[in-house]
């Protein structure tokens, strides 16, 4: 095998493919990147039995062939090469990378032992990369980071015709985001549970280059994403996701609207004294929201903001981390809190104008903290 490719193109391709390599590969060959030179393109692939990644780059190919080489080492080398064409040449069981006056000899691994990558399932539809990235970032904040509850580390994707609903919860909060897409088959209806970490990677690395193609496998075991020549597949999380849509309250007699950035800043300041995530109290009265945190023994902080309240006055306490994560993904000038009563979950939604209606495409439900009596 012998080909030449520009260093920047190679480095980017290797970095992307190598990021899904497992740091502790279940078998040694899975620490490798599979590089195939064929018909004017070089393809790179990685796999850890759960996630596969594959992309193609154009290259000047002098001799076709396939090699398997340590992905981590190759990524480190490519990143540090000078910006110039790179020659990749195999020589027996070795591969040589040369770039200007630098030369690297790497051992190759037996490519015949490499498992076959799962095929990308048939395309199901497309979504704007930007919209998808934003939606994912709004939802994954509520996914659990606790591996003892594997189901809750996933994001549930529910597809009903031209609408994708993303749902995540860690039992203390719940995020729901609806985002339109273009299904290939009108009226399709399916669902998938994808690890939040995987979805985040997809959003970050594929969201920037136009549309993303999404593929759901028929056997509901796999999901595939493709954008700009990059393809990735992931096994779905196994198990029954809890029915959480019903947790949203039917009616919320109390509404409070606050300016988003002012509140984000105030929560950030006040929670400086909330050690170990002791709660931040929010007291909504007519025209004003008072925040305070801290206990008598230690430091205390308080701050008041302008707020528009409809319904009874209410005081609620939240874990400051849960509160600020929810507020951080609200992009409108105003944020609305909807309450049923103090010990019930509070709903946070985006709102464009002080006296307008809130948007219902993103809803963040957060459970309050019960203060010691």
């Amino acid at each position: 095998m012998k080909f030449r490719v520009d260093r920047d193109v190679l480095a980017e391709a290797v970095t992307w493919t190598a990021r899904s390599l497992s740091p502790r590969p279940p078998v040694p060959v899975l620490s490798g990147l599979l590089i195939k030179a064929e018909a004017g393109t070089v393809s790179l692939a990685s796999f850890d039995y759960e996630i596969s990644a594959r992309l193609e780059i154009p290259a000047e190919i002098a001799e076709e062939g396939t090699i398997l080489v340590s992905g981590r080492l190759l990524a480190d080398i490519c990143r540090s090469l000078p910006s110039a064409p790179v020659d990749v040449v195999t020589d027996g069981s070795k591969v040589t990378l040369s770039c200007r006056s630098s030369r690297f000899n790497l051992a190759t691994m037996p490519e015949n032992d490499y498992p076959e990558l799962p095929a990308l399932p048939e395309l199901s539809g497309t979504i704007s990369g930007e919209a998808f990235s934003k939606a994912v970032s709004q939802v994954i904040i509520a996914a659990s980071k606790d591996d003892t509850l594997p189901i809750l580390t996933g994001v549930r994707m529910e597809i009903e015709d031209d609408l994708i609903t993303l749902l995540a919860t860690d039992r203390y909060r719940l995020a729901l985001r609806e985002v339109p897409w273009k299904p290939l088959t009108p009226g399709m209806s399916t669902s998938a549970l994808v690890k939040a970490k995987t979805l985040n990677e997809v959003a970050k690395t594929l969201g920037g280059s136009g549309d993303i193609n999404i593929a759901f496998s028929d056997d509901s075991e796999l999901i595939g994403f493709e954008s700009g020549g990059r393809r990735t597949t992931s096994l779905l999380v196994d198990g029954d996701y809890p029915k959480i849509r019903s947790l949203f309250p039917d009616s919320t007699p109390i509404h409070a609207t606050v300016e988003t950035t002012a509140l984000v800043e105030a929560v950030r300041r006040v929670s400086l004294v909330a050690e170990r995530n002791t709660p931040v109290r929010l007291a909504f009265t007519d025209g004003q929201l008072t925040l305070d945190a801290g206990t008598g023994e230690d430091a205390q902080a308080s701050e008041a903001l302008e707020a528009h309240l409809e319904g009874d006055e209410i005081t609620v306490a939240f874990n400051p981390h849960y509160l600020s994560e929810g507020l951080s993904v609200i992009e409108t000038p105003y944020v609305r809190f909807s309450f049923t009563s103090a010990p019930k979950p509070a709903m946070i939604t985006a709102q464009a104008e002080l006296n307008g209606e809130d948007r219902d495409d993103y809803r963040y439900l957060v459970m309050p903290v019960r203060l010691p009596s």
Binding site: T278, R370, L371
Partner: protein, 412 residues
């Protein structure tokens, strides 16, 4: 005093127990922020409804107002009293400062409530002087630093010290010399004795026993016939004997339980079943002590006595067996394949917090609350019928109903 060592004798170094008690504590604290109420009858309590008097100033007590009396009755006795709503956070703040003063005197402090404690000052005399000097020193510090008054009782035993502080109130100090203890006690009515309440007074009165001296003169057997087991204790107290030591309350750092298997095991199901049992024992003790645990630790001792432990810190502290169990199982599964069979398994709740002072993150998952409610119900059944009367179904061993519990838990 014309003995050889008059000073030694009058120092009463054998009276090393102090009982320090604040005078009308809640009222005194309230007066700090409302000095205009000084000298007036003041009652701390909620002004309305079925509330009771939490504390009354001595001016109000002069009208017959007493603690725990219904508010309505107190207001009939003393209609001019000013009623102040209680602020418990303020009281616990002052209480903390008070306890800090006590612990600067001696390590042997046994708090009885927010505003009173026993102190054993035997080890502090060399540094601070004889008991009376120490008592006056405490009274001065409490007055100067906290602005409230304390009464101090000093004696050779706890219960006599407590009698002394009661008799010295308000703002007083009374030392009952060891050699005069019995004579002093015998001047008191029988209800001055520890553990003698209205019912006992009544029972003793039927025998014509009205004073401590009467009790002392009654044979133990006669007292036991009326009072049962406590008869002997009452008789001992009447002679001034009280062997109880001042025992500082130890703050628990962790609560846990462990079990050594009769035979080493590698069976996952058996290990997890044992973890469930240990989780229930640990959680019940947490709830009993009013504590929440933020960190759960798993301990395994293998057949070759090598021991490992793994712990996990939770996002919010728990006292539920289900959550302790789920976390411990997660830790066990996280170990992967075990190198050999297991000799001992243990579960420990660490980073304990006072449940009354910890905010509780509520869960969207109603099952969490349901488990909590179920386990609280379990506590009540256990309290009434014993620990093994109600168990998770998976812990019931077929055919051996009496042996479901295993060994008692160990704790540190």
């Amino acid at each position: 005093m014309d003995t050889v060592e008059p000073s030694k004798d009058s120092e009463h170094r054998n009276c090393n127990i102090l009982h320090v008690d604040m005078d009308a504590f809640y009222v005194s604290v309230e007066l700090l922020s409302a000095p205009r109420l000084r000298g007036k009858p003041v009652i701390v309590g909620f002004p309305s409804g079925r509330s009771v008097v939490l504390s009354a100033s001595y001016e109000a007590r002069a009208f017959g107002v007493r603690s725990a009396m219904p508010m309505a009755a107190a207001m009939r006795l003393c209609p001019t009293a000013v009623v102040v709503e209680p602020r418990h956070s303020r009281y616990s703040e002052v209480s903390r400062q008070l306890m800090a003063i006590f612990s600067s005197i001696t390590d042997l402090v046994e708090p009885l409530s927010v505003d009173e404690a026993f102190l054993d000052v035997a080890g502090a005399m060399r540094r601070l002087g004889p008991p009376r000097t120490i008592g006056e020193h405490i009274r001065t510090r409490v007055h100067d630093e906290l602005g409230i008054t304390a009464s101090v009782g000093i004696a050779a035993t706890k219960f006599v010290a407590k009698i002394a502080s009661t008799r010295s109130k308000p703002d007083g100090l009374l030392l009952i010399p060891k050699e005069e203890t019995v004579a002093y006690l015998h001047t008191l009515p029988v209800n001055a004795l520890w553990g003698v309440g209205a019912k006992t007074v009544e029972a003793l009165a039927r025998l014509g026993i009205h004073t401590v001296a009467d009790v002392a003169a009654t044979p133990v057997q006669a007292l036991q016939r009326v009072l049962g087991k406590s008869g002997e204790q009452v008789h001992r107290l009447a002679w001034g004997t009280d062997p109880r030591k001042v025992t500082p309350v130890r703050v628990e750092k962790s609560i846990g339980a462990e079990e050594t298997f009769a035979e080493d095991t590698g069976d996952d199901a058996q290990l997890k079943r044992e973890l469930l049992r240990l989780a229930h024992r640990t959680a019940a003790r947490l709830r009993e002590a009013g504590l929440l645990s933020r960190t759960v630790a798993l301990k395994l001792r293998y057949a070759d006595f090598s021991t490992i432990s793994r712990s996990r810190t939770l996002s919010s502290p728990v006292d539920s067996a289900q959550l302790l169990y789920a976390t411990a199982v997660g830790l066990l599964d996280g170990l992967g394949p075990r190198p050999m069979s297991v000799r001992l398994i243990g579960l420990r709740a660490e980073q304990l917090e006072n449940a009354g002072q910890t905010a509780m993150q509520l869960s969207l998952d109603r099952r969490d609350d349901n488990w909590r409610a179920a386990e609280q119900a379990l506590d009540k059944v256990s309290a009434k019928f014993g620990r093994q009367s109600l168990l998770p179904a998976s812990l019931i061993r077929p055919g051996r109903p009496d042996d479901a519990g295993g060994k008692p838990p160990t704790g540190t």
